[in-house]
């Protein structure tokens, strides 16, 4: 590999590590997601260097495209505010554990005695190594069962996510009983229910207010004449049903 390959490797590697550090260190969840996008694209460049073209393309399209959009939407929905720093033992022990893990892994890698670890990799005889054609052939012949299991797992995850995140149907907190025993407004029977519970309740409240107003008017007019008898009777009946319903 010439110097261009080295330069490409170091740029991509530094980008990947910097993106990972940004994910961990940035306080705002939104910036963490953006740092992860940077990390994923750098990682795709490393995959290209390792002659895994299809994996690199899938990484950019699936991860940096679809999954990150999902993340951004959830962060925007939940509101990824700033985290409050709280001193705890893990805040000190976590980085120490991570450094120890990295050192141990590097020792294990370079002390493993694998012969090919210092080489550029085996000589690839197949001309289309890592292309979609080869990967697809492998997926549909040798690795057909893992492929189908992965498809099923994706389906289960999609259904599970919809079930978990759906809005719970049903009326909260006695609204149902209130609707059942509510006084029916004039001419608003089942159509109002079909129009929506809240609309029906609003209609009920409006009718109740109108009935109260009508009763007040009727009381005022009772002494002069019985002209408002019909209206008063209507209002009285409404008021009685209102009391029954506990409004």
């Amino acid at each position: 590999m010439n110097w261009l390959g080295y330069a490409f490797f170091f740029v991509a590697g530094i980008g990947a590590v910097a993106g990972a550090l940004g994910v961990v260190l940035l306080r705002n969840a939104f910036y963490s997601v953006l740092a992860l996008v940077c990390h994923l694209i750098s990682l795709a460049a490393l995959f290209m260097l390792l002659r895994a073209e299809f994996v690199a393309a899938a990484q950019v399209i699936v991860y940096a495209g679809a999954v990150m959009v999902l993340y951004v939407f959830v962060v925007a929905y939940v509101g990824g505010g700033e985290e409050v720093r709280v001193g705890s033992a893990l805040r000190v022990l976590g980085p120490m554990f991570a450094v120890a893990l990295a050192v141990e892994l590097c020792l294990a890698i370079f002390g493993s005695g694998l012969q090919a670890i210092g080489t550029m990799g085996a000589r690839v005889h197949v001309p289309g190594f890592g292309t979609p054609r080869h990967i697809g052939t492998l997926f549909l012949t040798t690795y057909l069962f893992p492929f189908e299991v992965a498809s099923l797992l994706l389906l289960v995850a999609a259904v599970g996510a919809v079930v978990l995140a759906r809005r719970r149907r049903g009326l909260p907190g006695g609204e149902r009983e209130a609707l059942i025993f509510a006084p029916r407004p004039e001419g608003a029977g089942t159509m109002a229910e079909a129009g929506g519970v809240r609309q029906a309740l609003a209609a009920v409240e409006r009718t109740g207010a109108a009935a109260r107003a009508g009763r007040a008017r009727g009381n005022a007019r009772r002494t002069p004449a019985g002209a408002a008898a019909g209206g008063r009777g209507q209002a009285g009946a409404d008021g009685e049903r209102e009391r029954e319903g506990g409004w």
């Binding site: 997601v33 993340y71 980085p95 085996a122 797992l153 995850a157």
Partner: protein, 99 residues
């Protein structure tokens, strides 16, 4: 570049992700750090595939990406459900299950 360098970067990325999972408290960021760890494993898989000159490691890496996508979907669904119930988005305060 020799394969060992890729494996070293993979180890460093894995350690950074582990540190994030241990220290951060926002479950969204914890999911992101899990992604980091899975991607580090992916890089190691692809590097070993290159080392052996076979494509089985790349197939394995693609399957790992599918698993990661499933994990993200379910995890984000859980976070949205937590948010709908007006619970705090904080793993230190969501500790009812461990008594």
């Amino acid at each position: 570049m020799s394969i060992g360098w890729y494996l070293a970067i993979s180890a460093i990325l894995f350690a950074i992700g582990a540190a994030g999972v241990l220290t951060r408290r926002n479950p969204l960021v914890i999911l992101l750090c899990l992604e980091l760890m899975l991607n580090a494993a992916n890089l190691a898989l692809v590097a070993f595939a290159r080392m052996h000159g076979g494509e089985a490691g790349q197939v394995f890496a693609l399957i790992v990406m599918v698993i990661a996508a499933c994990e993200v979907t379910v995890g984000l669904g859980l976070i949205v459900a937590i948010h709908r119930r007006n619970l705090p988005i904080d793993v230190d305060e969501l500790s009812q299950l461990n008594g």
